[in-house]
Subunit: 339 residues, 2 copies
C-alpha cells in the first residue's frame, strides 16, 4: 500500500480527543503505512496518547482554538484560523496530509473546506455522500445535507460525482444512477427534478430514471441523487424507522417468559442484522467536489465508528477520488454543457 497521511481534527465532535486519539492509534495499528496527524490542543492530546502508550506513525500538531458544534459556519470561517478543524484542512491544502477527517460542526467544516481547498472546475457546490445498506449491498446517496436546495445543473454535478466515486471505490464500471422523486413516471415531481433528469439522461452516465424513497434500500441503483433537504429527510426517516422497529422487537421479546426464551435464542440472528444496518459501520460521509479529500464523521461517533471514518478517507486517497472526479468533469465540460 502507498503511504497515506491523514490529518485528524482531534477536538471535533461531542467527545473530542477521548474518541479521536484511540481511533487514530487503532487505525495506524491496523492499516499498513498509515500516518495520523492529531491536530488540536497538544497537552490534552498528549495525555490521551500517553494512556495508549504509542506514538510511532502518530504525530501531534498543535492548534490553540476549536470550532464549537453550534457556531455559525461564517463566524468559524472568519475568526477560527487557529482551530483544529482549520489547521487540519490547511495541512491538506499545503500537501502535508492527504486527507482530513473531522467529527466537528458540519456546516463549518463544509465552509472552511470549500474556502481552503476550493471546489473542482465545473462544480458549484460540494455535496455530502454516504453509503447506506441495501438489500444487495450498498447504495451511495448524495446530497445528504450540504445544500438545502439544488438547481438541475447541481443535481447533474452530484450525479457525475456520485457515479465517479462509486466506480473508483467499488470498481463498478458503470454505476446505475437514479434520481430521487415522488414517483417513477416522467411527469412526476417538480420542474427542478424533471430538468435534472433530462440533463443526466443526455450524459454518459448509466441513468436508470426516477427512484422513490424505497429505491435507496432496494438495491435497484448504486447511486441516488437528490438535494440535501430530501437526502437528509430520507436518511433520518429511515434511521428513525429502523430504531423504532429495533425497540419494538426488544420490547416484544421482553413481554412473556416464553418470548424471553425465544429472545435469547434469536439474539445472534438479530445481532447479525443489527450489525448489517448499524450506522456506525457506515460512518464517514465524504465531501465530494473539493480539490482534496475530506471525510465527516458523525458528531456522536465512538472510537470504533470514528476509525471507520478514517478508513473511508484512506480508501478515498488510495483511489484518487478527487482527481478522478476532476477528470470526469473535464471530459463533460469539454463536450459543452447539456449536450
Amino acid at each position: 500500500m502507498q503511504p497515506v497521511t491523514i490529518a485528524l481534527d482531534a477536538m471535533g465532535g461531542d467527545h473530542g480527543p477521548s474518541v479521536v486519539v484511540p481511533a487514530a492509534v487503532s487505525a495506524v495499528e491496523r492499516i499498513d503505512r498509515l500516518e495520523a496527524i492529531l491536530v488540536g490542543d497538544s497537552e490534552t492530546i498528549g495525555v490521551e496518547l500517553a494512556n495508549r502508550g504509542r506514538t510511532d506513525r502518530v504525530r501531534v500538531h498543535h492548534a490553540g482554538e476549536q470550532v464549537g458544534m453550534d457556531e455559525s459556519p461564517a463566524q468559524a470561517l472568519r475568526t477560527k484560523k487557529d482551530s483544529s478543524m482549520r489547521v487540519a484542512l490547511d495541512l491538506v491544502a499545503c500537501g502535508q496530509a492527504d486527507a482530513c477527517v473531522s467529527a466537528g460542526n458540519t456546516g463549518a467544516l463544509l465552509a472552511i473546506a470549500r474556502f481552503v481547498l476550493k471546489t473542482l472546475p465545473g462544480i458549484d457546490r460540494p455535496a455530502i455522500v454516504s453509503a447506506l445498506p441495501s438489500r444487495r449491498g450498498l447504495t451511495h446517496v448524495l446530497d445528504l445535507g450540504a445544500n438545502v436546495d439544488a438547481t438541475p445543473e447541481q443535481l447533474f454535478q452530484f450525479a457525475v460525482m456520485g457515479s465517479t466515486l462509486v466506480s473508483a471505490i467499488h470498481r463498478i464500471r458503470e454505476p446505475r444512477v437514479g434520481l430521487l422523486n415522488v414517483g417513477e413516471e416522467e411527469i412526476k415531481g417538480h420542474e427542478t427534478v424533471r430538468e435534472a433528469a433530462r440533463l443526466i439522461a443526455r450524459s454518459d452516465l448509466n441513468y436508470r430514471g426516477f427512484v422513490e424513497g424505497d429505491g435507496i434500500f432496494s438495491g435497484e441503483v448504486d447511486v441516488v441523487v437528490c438535494d440535501g433537504f430530501a437526502g437528509n429527510i430520507a436518511l433520518k426517516s429511515s434511521e428513525g424507522a429502523a430504531r423504532m422497529i429495533g425497540s419494538m422487537i426488544e420490547g416484544e421479546f421482553r413481554r412473556t417468559g416464553l418470548s424471553r426464551i425465544a429472545g435469547v435464542l434469536a439474539r445472534p440472528v438479530l445481532q447479525s442484522v443489527r450489525r448489517r444496518i448499524d450506522p456506525r459501520n457506515y460512518n464517514g460521509a465524504i465531501f465530494v467536489g473539493l480539490r482534496g479529500t475530506v471525510v465527516k464523521s458523525h458528531g456522536r461517533a465512538d472510537a470504533y465508528s470514528f476509525e471507520n471514518a478514517i478508513r473511508e478517507a484512506v480508501v478515498e486517497v488510495q483511489n484518487n477520488v478527487p482527481e478522478r472526479i476532476g477528470e470526469h468533469l473535464d471530459v463533460l465540460l469539454s463536450q459543452g454543457p447539456g449536450e
Copy 2:
C-alpha cells in the same frame, strides 16, 4: 352510532370490485348502521355481490366508465363524467353519501374531489394525511404527496388541518405539531420552512418546533407538517428501510439449522411487530381541506386493507372532521392572517 353512508369507487385500484365488494360486505357486517354504495359497473359488482350472498345495507349505483390508474388527472376530470370515481364523489356533493373511498388514481381523485367538493374557505390546496406508527402510538403526517411544493402559508394551513384532525379523531386536546426540517435549530433549512415556522409559532397551535425525519417515529409530536415531496420521500424511505430489515431478518433466520429453530420460536414475537408496523393497518389516507370526506386507499390494497380505509372514512364522518377544520379556519381567518 349515527347512520353513515359511504360511497365506494368499486372500480378503483389494482383489483377493483374483487377487493372493494368483499371489503364493503365485511364493513357493513361489523359496523353498526353503516351503509355502503358500490359505484361502478353494476353487472361486475352484481356478480361479486352474489358470491357474497348479502345485499342489505349494500347498494349498487351504476357508473359506466372508469378512470385509468395512469390517466392524467386533467383528462380524467374533463372526460370521465360517468366514471365510478366521479359518480362516487358526486354522491357526496349532493348529500346522498357522507364520504367517498377510492383506491384509484391519486392525482385524478384529488383533482376531481377538489372540483366536485371544493376546498374550505382559507384553504388553497387540499393535503393528504396519514397516520404512521411511532414508538408511543401514532404520528399523523401531511402532506404526503398532494402538492410537490408548498408556500409557507400552505404549510401553515396543513398544520391547522392536521392539528384539528388529530384533535377530532383522537380526542387529544392540543396536538403537538412539528415542522419537518433538516435540523432542529432555527437557522436550519430553506426560507420556506423558516417562514412557515414563524406563522405556526404565532398561531394558537401547540407548536413544538422543527423535527427531523426520525421525529416521525419517535413519538415526540402528534402531527408532522411538510410539503408533499418531503412527506412522500419520508414515507417511502422508511417503508423501504422497514422492508429491507424484514427481509434481512428472514434471511438470517434461514441460514443455519440452529437459526431456523430460533426462527420458529421467535415467529410469534416478530409477527406481532410486523402487525404493528404493517402498512395495511394504516391504510386510508385522508384528503383534508375539502368540503367533504374523501379517503384514498392504497391502489394495491387487499380487502382487509380496504376495509381499514372504509373505517377511516367512518371515523372522519362521525367526528365531523371537515366541519371542525372549517370552524378552526374561521377563527384563524377572523383574527387576520399571520397575527
